[in-house]
Symmetry: C2
């Protein structure tokens, strides 16, 4: 393998690169900092376009986007969260349960926009290029759309929170989603008073940030020989 | 709900925002344009750090990263791809099968780096905050790490291709991955001669780009009343 020449005009500048990293590092899961300010259609439109540019297996683009602004509908989702949340609390014990109960885990009714991202599992027929051996690749494509949207929102100074303490069946019923379509994410979207410096679960002591160099292996699971120069970069 | 004041110093500038959008729009799934040039540890390190900053359910950070540089190991993965690829071709008929067979769908042995991203389903114990009602949230977290990595690589002018025509069991066996750990993505990573203007499956006529305004609903599945101003932004 010999080096060839690279296409120069497509290269990102150092400034552009740093902006992308800043976006990745400063993105937060927002629960408690939503403001009521309306998000202009122009901004929401750009964020949705970014989601639509996600990679998708076999170019099937399996996503749909249900935008919720109706307070009554958001309240029904909030009620479904509350039921699940109380059940969830029972799965933690002692101090962990007290900490769990003290955390604010959603901003469903405060955020001006709710967004349910879904995956239509039958969108492009039975055989999908790239999905023949990994059936969940369509779900993963929709998750990539969520992450694109989340980063685009951060670049627009808009906060996003992913609420996963919800039953899919409740989302289906409240939003009228058909059986072939899988809800992937319920997101709260809006401007925020501030973005937290660190993830709240880190600050509050739920779990620590793991050391990246302990999560990287070479050529085989749990193999590390000859990898010191890269590991040094990760510390 | 009344508007409050926003934290000004955390705001992205228009230039930073545009860089993020450029990255999202110019990212490509690379299969045929890999060069042999080595990717410096410093660059690979930054890309991995971006992956590690992905959102994760309950802050469980379920990912590991197996970096492959050994040509023999990459060849074994290429062989596993070839078996799956030939099986997959049989699922398409006539002109679709001819087109499928004519597409280059991986760059496993040409790309200087292979990367298997995994999800440890037991990383933080049985009960995981936010995963009590949606058990696959850990898998989705690892997918968000893949998308972060993909975008960071694009900002570094490094190409990434996701090879999904592989059996997870083959990946487990070749890489020694234990049962509790789920392979999520096998990625080919390296500098490229050029990034394609459009997804190859779009250019080659496999499927068209869908119209975004036909994928957006309001307050309920397939409901559109009162949404014209936003839909106009999406066209």
């Amino acid at each position: 393998m010999t080096g060839g020449s690279r296409q120069g005009d497509a290269e990102f500048t150092a400034e552009e690169r740093d902006a992308v990293y800043r976006c990745i590092f400063d993105r937060r899961d927002v629960r408690g900092q939503f403001l009521g300010d309306e998000v202009p259609d122009e901004v929401l439109g750009r964020i949705l376009k970014a989601a639509h540019r996600a990679p998708s297996v076999g170019f099937m683009q399996p996503w749909d986007f249900i935008i919720l602004k109706d307070q009554g509908t958001k309240q029904r989702i909030r009620d479904a969260f509350q039921v699940a949340h109380e059940e969830a609390a029972g799965q933690f014990e002692g101090d962990r349960q007290s900490l769990y109960k003290s955390l604010k885990l959603e901003g469903i009714t405060e955020a001006p926009i709710g967004l349910c991202v879904t995956c239509d599992r039958e969108r492009s027929g039975r055989a999908v290029l790239g999905r023949t051996h990994q059936a969940e690749m369509d779900l993963y494509s929709a998750v990539c759309a969520v992450q694109n949207l989340w980063l685009a929102a951060r670049a627009e100074n808009v906060g996003v929170g992913w609420v996963s303490i919800l039953r899919y069946d409740d989302l289906r019923e409240i939003l009228g989603i058909p059986d072939r379509v899988q809800p992937i994410a319920y997101l709260c979207i809006g401007y925020v008073s501030h973005f937290l410096d660190k993830p709240e679960l880190e600050t509050r002591g739920w779990l620590p940030r793991m050391k990246l160099d302990e999560l990287v292996w070479f050529d085989r699971w749990q193999e590390r020989s000859g990898s010191e120069p890269l590991l040094e970069q990760l510390r």
